[in-house]
Symmetry: C2
Subunit: 194 residues, 2 copies
């Protein structure tokens, strides 16, 4: 087995499954067909990656110990696929046009990790800076799940993604972090104050 390839595949599966759950909840919360469609697309990708992991693992087992250790990797791969499937089930509600019960919004607003949507307004220091440069995740605890820019979307942005005025950020974290992000986006707070 190419260690590097299995490692990279599993990292990608884990990252995608986590992003998918966040995106699926966001899609339902904000009634976004775009985000729901993205979840479905990512689910196909996770399924393909899981197939690759299985194939590589079967080719790699040389001993009983190998086989046992590889079993754990396969199981983790399968678990990420199952999580991805759960996310897809949520996304499909949005695609079917089903509106969630008002209680859902309350649930999303009161759970440990909440999802919020904020717009970068004129003068905000977030505009023109990359997520990595301002260490947004580290300094506010908020993880950006997706960015809506005009008609297009950026899903799962990374540290090199540069923010822009009018971007709509979909972010996950706790209530205190969400408040910081809101203030930064509305230009009511500067990065120095973090």
């Amino acid at each position: 087995m190419s260690k590097a390839s299995v490692k990279d595949i599993l990292i990608e599966m884990k990252n995608l499954s986590e992003l998918m759950v966040d995106l699926a909840y966001s899609a339902l919360l904000f009634n976004s067909r775009d985000a729901a469609e993205e979840v479905k697309k990512l689910e196909n990708k996770v399924n393909r990656l899981n197939y690759e992991i299985k194939k590589e693992s079967l080719l790699a087992a040389r001993s009983v110990e190998d086989a046992e250790e590889l079993t754990a990797l396969l199981e983790v791969g399968q678990a990420t696929e199952n999580i991805a499937d759960a996310a897809k089930d949520i996304a499909e509600l949005v695609l079917k046009g089903i509106k969630p019960h008002p209680v859902f919004k309350m649930v999303m607003e009161e759970s440990d990790e909440i999802i919020v949507r904020v717009t970068i307004e004129e003068g905000s220091e977030l505009a023109g800076r990359s997520l990595g440069e301002i260490l947004l995740g580290t300094r506010t605890g908020m993880r950006i799940i997706a960015i809506r820019r005009g008609e297009s979307w950026i899903y799962g942005p990374d540290r090199n993604t540069v923010l822009a005025e009018d971007d709509i950020l979909i972010a996950k974290g706790n209530e205190a972090g969400a408040e910081l992000l809101r203030k930064l986006a509305k230009n009511e707070m500067s990065l120095d104050e973090l």
Copy 2:
């Protein structure tokens, strides 16, 4: 339907399912039977809660519109149960005594969200303070999944949980946040420097 009770049940299910995934990965990463046992216990709880949601929803539907909206809640409940099941599958590997392939550790160290274990050392400002008081999650982006204190564990600590010297924190976040947490715990950094 008692809105309050369904809301509270769903919040608890969502919180638990998220905690379980983190705990399950931690259990495998650090080969912790305790954490794995906790995941199994929580899975039973999630299953019971999902049953409650189903029962309450069936009692509550009064119209076609009601039924549609409630379908979405049921689906979200089921998705959280499926996520909880995926976490349990991972935890069971640990309980079976299966060691993961060395690649697993590399995957956990290189994915977007990593899980780390740090010990609060003598003199660290973290000792004696509550998570809410120091806004640890907001200011480092690290979410504390579990705390090992001597022989006992605290799973899913909240803002009122007070940290103590020698606590072993299991935390999730990005690499930059993990570095901050390590420095705080090792007394190489003070809270003012955050």
